[in-house]
């Protein structure tokens, strides 16, 4: 409980301005320069880590900070990123969603396959609806039936995998006329010189940020995740809130699927496999508590971008892929540690 009260005002403060933050946090954070630096770190540790990574990589690779590269990384992070936004909402609501990876496979296979059969417009509509149905199943089982979300969504992960295989018969699906369809706008287009996937990612992030931070609905999600019992006693309909979080998550998956389908113009069963872990890594890097009740949308954006830039940076520096895996892990641990250490003001926990 203490953690929730601690975190939400801090985020509010982070938005309204760095100075007001320390006071809201209470305690002895704002007494000296060092302390206020610690306060800044506590609120924005992940952002500081992000900037440090960027500086480190740009020292070693002159191409790293080129506009071309930055656009390229953000564009390819957009798919994981959009999904991470939805999963952040679920996690803040106190649950997990591991089914997003295979849900993404399902949705991309669906949208790409239907594109040539019923046209891009209807294909998008059907895909969004079908994906929402999958999200609704998650939502019913976790929200209404009150089953453990880890088990439900882990089960859905393989169930949807099976569904995708049944649908596609194991075949690759492709869009034949890639250059003439307007469907290409989502993955390959530009709006005012900015790649559309980035625009979509930004719009989704802003919308969800506003929903989570400024609407009663968003507050209810925080409350439900922070203390479900207290939330119910405060008159919040817990099951509806949880149900809604899974719908939001499914919607973001559908959006990601449309971007991916348009970008690749084809799909296969293994396309989304394992993405749920990257998504979760991004969310955790963003400092969202897996226990629910705390976290922010825009920090998940940073979390996903950190992962994207690390992978890109290591590749630009010419590391072998297995080094990339190791370093990615190390960076996640370091970033999370930095974040936690800054919050409690010391490296190791004072309580054994």
């Amino acid at each position: 409980m203490a953690d929730i009260r601690h975190e939400i005002p801090a985020d509010r403060a982070g938005r309204s301005g760095p100075d007001s933050g320390g006071k809201h946090k209470g305690g002895g954070m704002a007494h000296s320069g060092l302390k206020s630096f610690a306060g800044l770190m506590a609120r924005q540790g992940i952002l500081v880590a992000f900037v440090l990574f960027l500086i480190a990589f740009s020292v070693f690779s002159d191409r790293f900070l080129s506009a071309e590269n930055i656009f390229s990384v953000v564009r390819s992070s957009a798919i994981i990123g959009v999904m991470a936004l939805g999963v952040t909402v679920v996690v803040i609501g106190g649950n997990l969603d591991l089914s997003v990876g295979s849900m993404l496979s399902f949705s991309t296979v669906l949208v790409v396959d239907l594109h040539d059969k019923i046209g891009p417009g209807p294909a998008i509509v059907v895909t969004v609806l079908a994906t929402l149905c999958l999200g609704a199943i998650n939502g019913l089982l976790v929200g209404v039936a009150r089953l453990n979300s880890l088990i439900v969504t882990l089960g859905m992960l393989s169930a949807i995998q099976g569904l995708t295989l049944i649908y596609s018969g194991g075949k690759n699906v492709d869009i034949v006329h890639q250059d003439t369809t307007w469907f290409k706008i989502f993955g390959r287009g530009y709006i005012a010189d900015i790649p559309v996937p980035i625009v979509i990612f930004a719009i989704c992030a802003i919308v969800l940020h506003v929903v989570m931070a400024y609407t009663p609905f968003g507050r209810r999600i925080y409350a439900t995740g922070g203390n479900p019992t207290a939330a119910v006693f405060s008159g919040i309909r817990r099951s509806r809130v949880v149900f809604a979080t899974y719908l939001i998550s499914a919607l973001t998956v559908a959006i990601a699927a449309i971007v991916l389908g348009s970008r690749v113009m084809g799909s296969q069963n293994n396309v989304g496999q394992g993405y749920e872990l990257q998504v979760l890594a991004g969310v955790i890097l963003g400092g969202t508590s897996l226990l629910g009740g705390s976290g922010t949308i825009w920090k998940s954006v940073i979390g996903v971008l950190i992962l994207g830039f690390i992978q890109n940076g290591l590749l630009l520096l010419g590391f072998e892929y297995y080094v990339q895996w190791l370093v990615t892990w190390v960076v996640i641990i370091l970033a999370v540690w930095l974040d936690i250490a800054a919050k409690r003001g010391r490296l190791l926990s004072p309580i054994a």
Binding site: S61, R63, S66, E68, N69, S72, R75, S76, I79, L165, G169, G170, K171, N172, D174, V176, R188, L260, R263, V264, M265, G266, S267, Q268, N269, N270, V271, N312, L315, L316, G318, Y321, Y322
Partner: protein, 316 residues
């Protein structure tokens, strides 16, 4: 006489199927196959269809078609069941080249010849098998290297997008390609190699990074067409596709189409139909006592823009 063909769906026991198949006439050659994971990709789906069609076309053969569903334990149980039922040959598409070795040895000791199909068994299992039937991935890598030399006139800088790390197919293609390239045209240099995990989206991301990192790329070798087309997508988006020669392996329909459009240089044609027919024929030859090479490869020819008309468009 009508050929009896019994197909088992994942999860049912082999024994039941063989009981059915046993009702067929005794003088036919009875062959059992346990596949890796049908339905997981187009190649394996087409393979199974072609295998059944080939068996149905041969009046002297009776087959029991099983699928391990990617599960090693289930595959071992299926091998044991087939051994118990005394089929005359067992064809195995290993889910795991090492784990199936003991079961293969038992079958061998029971006097049943084992033919491995598509992906080979681990070295320690080699003494127990009658033959391996499948594609030669080292050779495929070599063919791709030769195409690359030709495409670039023996000079240039290229990048390589490999398969999923740890897969034998990925390792062998990479090795075949690198060794032959160093021999045939040492002035073609591989600047970088990264895995694309057999995934078009991943490959597209890797290629985007390569395009940023290297201002000049003359060629791309991808360990299958799915990844090759992902790389092509990335290069097209960056407006650099015209300067780059794309060479893949395992020709996919998308690669075939890109080749027809002139965007894709070439690939290696590997047909699941040839794969399946070669496996069945190898098993029949083994049962009939004909001499079969231990490594019985089927042909995987080069396919380029020039000769592509001789090939039918792949079904996957």
């Amino acid at each position: 006489m009508k050929t009896t063909l019994k197909v088992l769906i994942t999860g049912t026991t082999a024994a039941a199927a063989i009981a059915f198949a046993g009702a067929a006439s005794a003088e036919k050659i009875k062959i059992g196959i346990t596949q890796n994971n049908v339905g997981v990709d187009s190649y394996q789906t087409t393979y199974e269809k072609a295998f059944k069609a080939a068996a149905a076309a041969d009046p002297n053969v009776d087959v029991v078609v099983l699928d391990a569903g990617g599960d090693v334990a289930r595959q071992i149980a299926q091998i044991q069941d087939l051994t118990q039922q005394k089929v005359q040959a067992i064809i195995i598409w290993p889910t795991n080249g090492k784990a199936v070795v003991p079961a293969v040895r038992k079958a061998h000791e029971a006097g049943i010849p084992v033919v491995i199909t598509n992906s080979n068994i681990a070295k320690e299992g080699m003494p127990y098998i009658a033959a391996f039937s499948g594609p030669n991935n080292i050779e495929q890598g070599k063919e791709a290297a030769d195409m690359m030399c030709k495409a670039l006139n023996n000079k240039g800088d290229i990048v390589q997008i490999a398969g999923k790390p740890g897969y034998t197919t990925a390792i062998e293609r990479e090795k075949g390609f690198e060794d032959e390239l160093a021999k045939a045209c040492p002035e073609v240099k591989i600047m970088d190699t990264q895995p694309g995990d057999w995934n078009r989206e991943k490959s597209q991301r890797v290629m985007e990074d390569f395009l940023v990192k290297y201002p000049k790329i003359d060629g791309v070798y991808a360990a299958d067409d799915n990844m090759g087309v992902g790389a092509l997508n990335a290069a097209k988006a960056a407006g650099r596709a015209k300067d780059i020669k794309f060479i893949g392996a395992t020709n996919f329909a998308v690669g075939y189409e890109a080749m027809a459009k002139g965007e894709y240089y070439g690939s290696v044609y590997q047909s699941p139909v040839d794969d399946a027919e070669n496996a069945l024929k190898t098993a029949i030859d083994v049962v009939e006592g004909k001499k079969v090479p231990k490594m019985n490869y089927f042909k995987t020819p080069e396919i380029t823009q020039e000769n592509m008309k001789q090939f039918t468009k792949p079904v996957f």
